[in-house]
Protein backbone atom coordinates (compact mmCIF):
# COMPACT_ATOMS: atom_id res chain seq x y z
CA UNK A 1 0.00 0.00 0.00
CA UNK A 2 1.38 3.42 -0.90
CA UNK A 3 1.52 6.54 1.19
CA UNK A 4 -1.14 8.07 -1.04
CA UNK A 5 -3.66 5.33 -0.24
CA UNK A 6 -2.81 5.41 3.44
CA UNK A 7 -3.39 9.12 3.81
CA UNK A 8 -7.17 9.22 3.30
CA UNK A 9 -7.71 6.37 5.76
CA UNK A 10 -5.61 8.17 8.35
CA UNK A 11 -7.44 11.41 7.68
CA UNK A 12 -10.81 9.73 7.99
CA UNK A 13 -9.78 8.18 11.30
CA UNK A 14 -8.71 11.55 12.67
CA UNK A 15 -12.03 12.97 11.49
CA UNK A 16 -13.97 10.18 13.18
CA UNK A 17 -12.08 10.64 16.42
CA UNK A 18 -12.59 14.38 16.34
CA UNK A 19 -16.29 13.81 15.82
CA UNK A 20 -16.43 11.43 18.79
CA UNK A 21 -14.76 13.95 21.11
CA UNK A 22 -16.98 16.76 19.83
CA UNK A 23 -20.14 14.64 20.30
CA UNK A 24 -19.18 13.77 23.87
CA UNK A 25 -18.42 17.37 24.79
CA UNK A 26 -21.58 18.61 23.08
CA UNK A 27 -23.75 16.09 24.96
CA UNK A 28 -22.26 17.09 28.31
CA UNK A 29 -22.63 20.80 27.48
CA UNK A 30 -26.24 20.36 26.34
CA UNK A 31 -27.23 18.48 29.49
CA UNK A 32 -25.44 21.07 31.63
CA UNK A 33 -27.24 23.94 29.92
CA UNK A 34 -30.71 22.49 29.47
CA UNK A 35 -30.99 20.14 32.47
CA UNK A 36 -28.50 21.35 35.08
CA UNK A 37 -24.82 21.41 36.00
CA UNK A 38 -25.08 18.42 38.35
CA UNK A 39 -26.61 16.31 35.61
CA UNK A 40 -24.07 17.38 32.99
CA UNK A 41 -21.24 16.47 35.33
CA UNK A 42 -22.78 13.08 36.06
CA UNK A 43 -23.08 12.37 32.35
CA UNK A 44 -19.38 13.23 32.06
CA UNK A 45 -18.60 10.88 34.95
CA UNK A 46 -20.63 8.14 33.23
CA UNK A 47 -18.75 8.68 29.99
CA UNK A 48 -15.55 8.39 32.00
CA UNK A 49 -16.72 5.08 33.47
CA UNK A 50 -17.47 3.74 30.00
CA UNK A 51 -14.17 4.95 28.54
CA UNK A 52 -12.11 3.51 31.39
CA UNK A 53 -13.91 0.16 31.53
CA UNK A 54 -13.82 -0.40 27.77
CA UNK A 55 -10.57 1.40 27.03
CA UNK A 56 -8.53 -0.34 29.73
CA UNK A 57 -10.53 -3.59 29.61
CA UNK A 58 -11.44 -3.50 33.28
CA UNK A 59 -14.34 -5.74 34.22
CA UNK A 60 -15.96 -7.81 36.93
CA UNK A 61 -17.38 -10.99 35.38
CA UNK A 62 -14.26 -11.82 33.34
CA UNK A 63 -11.79 -11.53 36.22
CA UNK A 64 -13.98 -13.69 38.46
CA UNK A 65 -14.06 -16.29 35.70
CA UNK A 66 -10.27 -16.03 35.27
CA UNK A 67 -9.80 -16.56 39.00
CA UNK A 68 -12.16 -19.52 39.21
CA UNK A 69 -11.07 -21.30 36.02
CA UNK A 70 -7.39 -20.41 35.72
CA UNK A 71 -6.55 -18.95 39.15
CA UNK A 72 -5.45 -15.67 37.55
CA UNK A 73 -5.88 -12.97 40.22
CA UNK A 74 -4.94 -9.73 38.42
CA UNK A 75 -8.46 -8.54 37.59
CA UNK A 76 -9.81 -9.29 41.07
CA UNK A 77 -6.85 -7.57 42.71
CA UNK A 78 -7.52 -4.48 40.60
CA UNK A 79 -11.17 -4.55 41.73
CA UNK A 80 -10.08 -4.77 45.37
CA UNK A 81 -7.65 -1.88 44.90
CA UNK A 82 -10.34 0.31 43.35
CA UNK A 83 -12.79 -0.45 46.15
CA UNK A 84 -10.14 0.29 48.80
CA UNK A 85 -9.27 3.63 47.20
CA UNK A 86 -12.93 4.65 47.12
CA UNK A 87 -13.42 3.51 50.72
CA UNK A 88 -10.51 5.65 51.95
CA UNK A 89 -12.37 8.75 50.77
CA UNK A 90 -16.01 7.69 51.00
CA UNK A 91 -16.35 6.28 54.50
CA UNK A 92 -14.89 9.38 56.23
CA UNK A 93 -16.87 11.63 53.87
CA UNK A 94 -20.17 9.93 54.69
CA UNK A 95 -19.40 10.17 58.42
CA UNK A 96 -18.55 13.88 58.19
CA UNK A 97 -21.51 14.80 55.94
CA UNK A 98 -24.46 12.75 57.22
CA UNK A 99 -27.60 13.24 55.14
CA UNK A 100 -25.83 15.23 52.47
CA UNK A 101 -23.86 12.17 51.31
CA UNK A 102 -25.31 8.67 51.54
CA UNK A 103 -23.74 5.26 51.11
CA UNK A 104 -24.88 2.12 49.30
CA UNK A 105 -26.23 0.78 52.55
CA UNK A 106 -28.85 -1.94 52.50
CA UNK A 107 -30.07 -4.75 54.75
CA UNK A 108 -28.85 -8.33 54.51
CA UNK A 109 -31.84 -10.61 54.06
CA UNK A 110 -32.99 -13.87 52.53
CA UNK A 111 -34.00 -12.31 49.23
CA UNK A 112 -30.82 -10.23 49.14
CA UNK A 113 -28.64 -13.30 49.56
CA UNK A 114 -30.58 -15.35 47.00
CA UNK A 115 -30.62 -12.47 44.56
CA UNK A 116 -26.85 -12.09 44.79
CA UNK A 117 -26.37 -15.80 44.10
CA UNK A 118 -28.62 -15.69 41.03
CA UNK A 119 -26.91 -12.51 39.79
CA UNK A 120 -23.48 -14.12 40.14
CA UNK A 121 -24.65 -17.09 38.06
CA UNK A 122 -26.41 -15.02 35.40
CA UNK A 123 -23.48 -12.65 34.94
CA UNK A 124 -21.24 -15.61 34.14
CA UNK A 125 -23.76 -17.02 31.65
CA UNK A 126 -23.68 -13.85 29.54
CA UNK A 127 -20.22 -12.75 30.76
CA UNK A 128 -21.55 -9.34 31.64
CA UNK A 129 -22.40 -7.85 35.02
CA UNK A 130 -24.31 -4.61 35.60
CA UNK A 131 -21.70 -2.26 34.19
CA UNK A 132 -20.33 -4.96 31.86
CA UNK A 133 -23.63 -5.49 30.07
CA UNK A 134 -23.90 -1.76 29.32
CA UNK A 135 -20.27 -1.42 28.26
CA UNK A 136 -20.37 -4.56 26.12
CA UNK A 137 -23.61 -3.48 24.45
CA UNK A 138 -22.09 -0.10 23.62
CA UNK A 139 -19.06 -1.72 22.06
CA UNK A 140 -21.19 -4.00 19.89
CA UNK A 141 -21.28 -7.31 21.77
CA UNK A 142 -24.51 -8.89 20.45
CA UNK A 143 -25.10 -11.04 23.56
CA UNK A 144 -25.04 -7.99 25.83
CA UNK A 145 -27.09 -5.97 23.35
CA UNK A 146 -29.85 -8.59 23.53
CA UNK A 147 -29.53 -9.03 27.30
CA UNK A 148 -29.75 -5.29 28.04
CA UNK A 149 -33.48 -4.64 27.41
CA UNK A 150 -34.39 -7.76 29.36
CA UNK A 151 -32.04 -6.63 32.13
CA UNK A 152 -34.07 -3.41 32.27
CA UNK A 153 -37.40 -5.29 32.28
CA UNK A 154 -36.11 -7.61 35.00
CA UNK A 155 -34.93 -4.64 37.06
CA UNK A 156 -38.38 -3.07 36.76
CA UNK A 157 -40.11 -6.32 37.78
CA UNK A 158 -37.72 -6.82 40.70
CA UNK A 159 -38.34 -3.30 41.93
CA UNK A 160 -42.11 -3.79 41.50
CA UNK A 161 -41.97 -6.80 43.85
CA UNK A 162 -39.10 -5.64 46.08
CA UNK A 163 -41.10 -4.89 49.21
CA UNK A 164 -42.75 -8.32 49.11
CA UNK A 165 -39.32 -9.94 48.96
CA UNK A 166 -37.80 -7.84 51.73
CA UNK A 167 -40.76 -8.71 53.95
CA UNK A 168 -39.52 -12.33 53.90
CA UNK A 169 -36.95 -11.30 56.47
CA UNK A 170 -33.96 -9.03 56.73
CA UNK A 171 -31.52 -7.79 59.31
CA UNK A 172 -31.26 -4.10 60.15
CA UNK A 173 -28.85 -2.16 57.92
CA UNK A 174 -25.36 -2.86 59.23
CA UNK A 175 -22.65 -0.35 58.35
CA UNK A 176 -19.01 0.27 59.13
CA UNK A 177 -18.60 3.96 59.89
CA UNK A 178 -15.88 6.43 60.81
CA UNK A 179 -12.21 5.65 61.26
CA UNK A 180 -12.85 2.26 62.82
CA UNK A 181 -15.22 1.34 59.99
CA UNK A 182 -12.63 2.31 57.41
CA UNK A 183 -9.95 0.29 59.21
CA UNK A 184 -12.17 -2.80 59.29
CA UNK A 185 -13.11 -2.35 55.61
CA UNK A 186 -9.47 -2.01 54.53
CA UNK A 187 -8.49 -5.00 56.68
CA UNK A 188 -11.26 -7.03 55.06
CA UNK A 189 -10.13 -6.02 51.58
CA UNK A 190 -6.52 -6.84 52.47
CA UNK A 191 -7.66 -10.22 53.72
CA UNK A 192 -9.59 -10.85 50.52
CA UNK A 193 -6.54 -9.85 48.47
CA UNK A 194 -4.47 -12.23 50.56
CA UNK A 195 -6.85 -15.12 49.88
CA UNK A 196 -6.86 -14.32 46.15
CA UNK A 197 -3.05 -14.21 46.08
CA UNK A 198 -2.82 -17.42 48.10
CA UNK A 199 -5.10 -19.20 45.62
CA UNK A 200 -3.34 -17.74 42.55
CA UNK A 201 -1.49 -19.96 40.13
CA UNK A 202 2.31 -19.57 40.20
CA UNK A 203 3.58 -16.76 38.02
CA UNK A 204 0.23 -14.94 37.77
CA UNK A 205 0.41 -12.57 40.74
CA UNK A 206 1.56 -9.41 38.92
CA UNK A 207 -1.16 -6.88 38.09
CA UNK A 208 -0.75 -5.26 34.64
CA UNK A 209 -0.18 -1.51 34.63
CA UNK A 210 -3.38 -0.87 32.64
CA UNK A 211 -5.48 -2.50 35.38
CA UNK A 212 -3.74 -0.47 38.09
CA UNK A 213 -4.41 2.69 36.09
CA UNK A 214 -8.01 1.63 35.56
CA UNK A 215 -8.47 1.00 39.29
CA UNK A 216 -7.19 4.48 40.16
CA UNK A 217 -9.30 6.18 37.48
CA UNK A 218 -12.44 4.25 38.43
CA UNK A 219 -11.91 5.16 42.07
CA UNK A 220 -11.56 8.85 41.16
CA UNK A 221 -14.74 8.72 39.07
CA UNK A 222 -16.63 6.87 41.82
CA UNK A 223 -15.62 9.51 44.38
CA UNK A 224 -16.66 12.24 41.94
CA UNK A 225 -20.03 10.47 41.54
CA UNK A 226 -20.45 10.50 45.32
CA UNK A 227 -19.55 14.18 45.69
CA UNK A 228 -21.74 15.31 42.79
CA UNK A 229 -24.81 13.10 43.30
CA UNK A 230 -24.61 12.60 47.05
CA UNK A 231 -24.87 8.87 46.48
CA UNK A 232 -22.49 6.18 45.21
CA UNK A 233 -22.17 4.82 41.69
CA UNK A 234 -25.05 2.52 40.81
CA UNK A 235 -26.38 0.93 37.62
CA UNK A 236 -29.54 -1.07 38.13
CA UNK A 237 -31.94 1.57 39.43
CA UNK A 238 -31.76 3.57 36.21
CA UNK A 239 -32.51 0.55 34.03
CA UNK A 240 -35.62 -0.19 36.09
CA UNK A 241 -36.80 3.39 35.69
CA UNK A 242 -36.39 3.14 31.89
CA UNK A 243 -38.59 0.03 31.81
CA UNK A 244 -41.09 1.57 34.25
CA UNK A 245 -41.43 4.59 31.97
CA UNK A 246 -42.04 2.27 29.02
CA UNK A 247 -44.62 0.34 31.05
CA UNK A 248 -46.51 3.53 31.90
CA UNK A 249 -46.25 4.82 28.32
CA UNK A 250 -47.92 1.60 27.15
CA UNK A 251 -50.80 2.16 29.58
CA UNK A 252 -49.49 0.14 32.50
CA UNK A 253 -50.59 0.84 36.06
CA UNK A 254 -48.02 1.01 38.85
CA UNK A 255 -50.50 1.54 41.68
CA UNK A 256 -50.19 -2.09 42.82
CA UNK A 257 -46.52 -1.73 43.67
CA UNK A 258 -45.40 -0.44 47.06
CA UNK A 259 -42.08 0.48 45.47
CA UNK A 260 -43.47 2.49 42.58
CA UNK A 261 -46.11 4.28 44.65
CA UNK A 262 -43.46 5.72 46.99
CA UNK A 263 -43.15 9.50 46.39
CA UNK A 264 -39.52 9.29 45.26
CA UNK A 265 -40.30 6.58 42.71
CA UNK A 266 -43.32 8.48 41.37
CA UNK A 267 -41.17 11.58 40.89
CA UNK A 268 -38.49 9.69 38.99
CA UNK A 269 -40.90 7.76 36.77
CA UNK A 270 -42.61 11.03 35.85
CA UNK A 271 -39.38 13.02 35.60
CA UNK A 272 -36.73 13.11 32.89
CA UNK A 273 -34.18 10.29 32.83
CA UNK A 274 -31.64 13.08 32.41
CA UNK A 275 -32.35 14.01 36.03
CA UNK A 276 -31.91 10.47 37.36
CA UNK A 277 -28.36 9.88 38.54
CA UNK A 278 -28.13 6.17 37.71
CA UNK A 279 -29.69 6.75 34.29
CA UNK A 280 -27.10 9.41 33.46
CA UNK A 281 -24.14 7.20 34.34
CA UNK A 282 -25.79 4.27 32.52
CA UNK A 283 -26.12 6.42 29.39
CA UNK A 284 -22.50 7.45 29.82
CA UNK A 285 -21.37 3.83 30.18
CA UNK A 286 -22.96 2.82 26.87
CA UNK A 287 -21.89 5.94 24.98
CA UNK A 288 -18.37 5.95 26.44
CA UNK A 289 -17.82 2.31 25.47
CA UNK A 290 -19.20 3.04 22.00
CA UNK A 291 -16.76 5.91 21.70
CA UNK A 292 -13.80 3.71 22.59
CA UNK A 293 -14.89 0.98 20.16
CA UNK A 294 -15.33 3.53 17.37
CA UNK A 295 -11.97 5.11 18.27
CA UNK A 296 -10.03 1.84 18.15
CA UNK A 297 -8.81 0.79 14.76
CA UNK A 298 -10.75 -2.24 13.55
CA UNK A 299 -12.75 -2.82 16.74
CA UNK A 300 -16.12 -2.37 15.04
CA UNK A 301 -15.02 -4.39 12.01
CA UNK A 302 -14.90 -7.59 14.05
CA UNK A 303 -17.40 -10.15 12.74
CA UNK A 304 -20.35 -11.08 14.95
CA UNK A 305 -20.13 -14.52 16.57
CA UNK A 306 -22.62 -17.24 15.73
CA UNK A 307 -24.50 -19.00 18.50
CA UNK A 308 -27.21 -21.68 18.52
CA UNK A 309 -30.81 -20.68 19.23
CA UNK A 310 -30.64 -21.95 22.80
CA UNK A 311 -27.81 -19.51 23.49
CA UNK A 312 -30.00 -16.56 22.51
CA UNK A 313 -32.88 -17.89 24.62
CA UNK A 314 -30.46 -18.30 27.52
CA UNK A 315 -29.33 -14.70 26.99
CA UNK A 316 -32.91 -13.43 27.29
CA UNK A 317 -33.51 -15.46 30.47
CA UNK A 318 -30.16 -14.42 31.95
CA UNK A 319 -30.91 -10.76 31.16
CA UNK A 320 -34.21 -10.98 33.03
CA UNK A 321 -32.49 -12.78 35.90
CA UNK A 322 -29.74 -10.15 36.08
CA UNK A 323 -32.27 -7.36 36.39
CA UNK A 324 -34.69 -9.07 38.78
CA UNK A 325 -32.04 -10.54 41.07
CA UNK A 326 -30.03 -7.34 41.31
CA UNK A 327 -33.03 -5.49 42.70
CA UNK A 328 -33.60 -8.16 45.33
CA UNK A 329 -29.88 -8.10 46.13
CA UNK A 330 -29.90 -4.29 46.58
CA UNK A 331 -27.49 -3.82 43.73
CA UNK A 332 -25.26 -5.50 41.20
CA UNK A 333 -21.49 -5.75 41.13
CA UNK A 334 -21.39 -1.94 41.09
CA UNK A 335 -24.15 -0.87 43.50
CA UNK A 336 -23.66 -3.68 46.03
CA UNK A 337 -20.15 -5.10 45.66
CA UNK A 338 -18.15 -2.04 44.58
CA UNK A 339 -20.14 0.79 46.17
CA UNK A 340 -21.53 -1.25 49.08
CA UNK A 341 -18.16 -2.32 50.41
CA UNK A 342 -16.57 1.04 49.58
CA UNK A 343 -19.18 2.88 51.65
CA UNK A 344 -19.07 0.52 54.61
CA UNK A 345 -22.20 -1.58 54.05
CA UNK A 346 -21.97 -5.17 55.24
CA UNK A 347 -24.46 -6.17 52.59
CA UNK A 348 -21.68 -5.57 50.04
CA UNK A 349 -19.60 -8.31 51.65
CA UNK A 350 -22.55 -10.69 51.85
CA UNK A 351 -23.32 -9.89 48.21
CA UNK A 352 -19.77 -10.76 47.19
CA UNK A 353 -19.78 -14.15 48.96
CA UNK A 354 -23.12 -15.18 47.46
CA UNK A 355 -22.42 -13.85 43.97
CA UNK A 356 -19.01 -15.51 43.85
CA UNK A 357 -20.65 -18.81 44.81
CA UNK A 358 -23.24 -18.23 42.07
CA UNK A 359 -20.45 -17.59 39.58
CA UNK A 360 -19.42 -21.26 39.83
CA UNK A 361 -22.91 -22.26 38.70
CA UNK A 362 -22.88 -19.72 35.87
CA UNK A 363 -19.49 -20.91 34.62
CA UNK A 364 -20.81 -24.48 34.64
CA UNK A 365 -23.97 -23.45 32.80
CA UNK A 366 -22.39 -21.24 30.09
CA UNK A 367 -21.05 -23.95 27.75
CA UNK A 368 -24.16 -26.08 28.31
CA UNK A 369 -26.32 -23.20 27.10
CA UNK A 370 -24.34 -22.91 23.88
CA UNK A 371 -22.52 -19.70 24.73
CA UNK A 372 -19.06 -21.17 24.23
CA UNK A 373 -17.43 -24.24 22.77
CA UNK A 374 -17.76 -27.14 25.18
CA UNK A 375 -14.46 -28.60 26.31
Amino acid sequence: MTAATLAPAGGARIGTRGLLVAAGLAAVAAVTLFVGARFGMLLAVGLGFGIVLEGLRFGFAGPWRAMILRREPAGMLAQILAIALVAIVSIPLISSHPGEIGGAQAPIGWAMLGGAFVFGAAMQVVLGCGSGTLVNAGSGNPVSLLALPFFAIGSFAGAYHLIWWTDLGALPILTLTGGAGLAVTLAGLAGLAGIVLWRAAPGTRAVPRRLLLAAVLLAALAVANLAIAGQPWGVVYGLGIWAAKGFVALGGDLSGSAFFTAPGSVARVNGSILTDYSSLTDIGLIAGAFGVAAWRRGALAAPLPRYPARAWIATVVAGLALGYSSRLAFGCNVGAFFSGIATGSLHGWAWFVMAFAGAYLGIWLRPRLGLEART
Binding site: V35, F39, H97, Y237, A302, L304, G335, A336
Partner: protein, 54 residues
Protein backbone atom coordinates in the same frame (compact mmCIF):
# COMPACT_ATOMS: atom_id res chain seq x y z
CA UNK B 1 -22.20 -8.66 9.75
CA UNK B 2 -19.81 -6.87 12.08
CA UNK B 3 -19.90 -5.12 15.41
CA UNK B 4 -20.49 -1.88 13.54
CA UNK B 5 -24.13 -2.98 13.20
CA UNK B 6 -24.69 -3.95 16.83
CA UNK B 7 -22.81 -0.97 18.28
CA UNK B 8 -24.80 1.26 15.93
CA UNK B 9 -28.05 -0.29 17.15
CA UNK B 10 -26.99 0.30 20.77
CA UNK B 11 -26.20 3.97 20.28
CA UNK B 12 -29.27 4.53 18.10
CA UNK B 13 -31.53 2.88 20.70
CA UNK B 14 -30.00 5.10 23.35
CA UNK B 15 -30.67 8.19 21.25
CA UNK B 16 -34.29 7.11 20.69
CA UNK B 17 -34.75 6.46 24.41
CA UNK B 18 -33.43 9.90 25.35
CA UNK B 19 -35.37 11.60 22.55
CA UNK B 20 -38.70 10.00 23.48
CA UNK B 21 -38.12 10.76 27.13
CA UNK B 22 -37.29 14.40 26.41
CA UNK B 23 -40.54 14.70 24.48
CA UNK B 24 -42.58 13.07 27.25
CA UNK B 25 -40.81 14.54 30.31
CA UNK B 26 -38.96 17.73 29.40
CA UNK B 27 -36.50 18.72 32.14
CA UNK B 28 -36.61 22.12 33.79
CA UNK B 29 -33.11 23.55 34.32
CA UNK B 30 -34.51 26.21 36.66
CA UNK B 31 -35.31 23.47 39.18
CA UNK B 32 -31.83 21.95 39.03
CA UNK B 33 -30.12 21.24 42.35
CA UNK B 34 -26.69 22.70 43.24
CA UNK B 35 -23.87 21.34 41.10
CA UNK B 36 -22.36 19.34 43.97
CA UNK B 37 -24.31 17.49 46.63
CA UNK B 38 -21.23 17.70 48.83
CA UNK B 39 -21.38 21.03 50.61
CA UNK B 40 -24.88 21.83 49.36
CA UNK B 41 -26.53 21.43 52.74
CA UNK B 42 -29.33 19.47 51.08
CA UNK B 43 -30.29 15.90 51.87
CA UNK B 44 -29.36 13.28 49.25
CA UNK B 45 -32.54 12.32 47.43
CA UNK B 46 -31.66 10.36 44.31
CA UNK B 47 -32.93 6.88 43.51
CA UNK B 48 -30.45 4.13 44.17
CA UNK B 49 -30.48 0.36 43.77
CA UNK B 50 -29.15 -0.14 47.27
CA UNK B 51 -31.95 1.75 48.96
CA UNK B 52 -35.64 1.24 49.61
CA UNK B 53 -37.81 3.91 47.97
CA UNK B 54 -38.30 7.16 49.87
Amino acid sequence: MTRRLTAGIAIAALAVLVGLDLAASPPNPWQAPPAFALGSGQAASGGFCGALPG
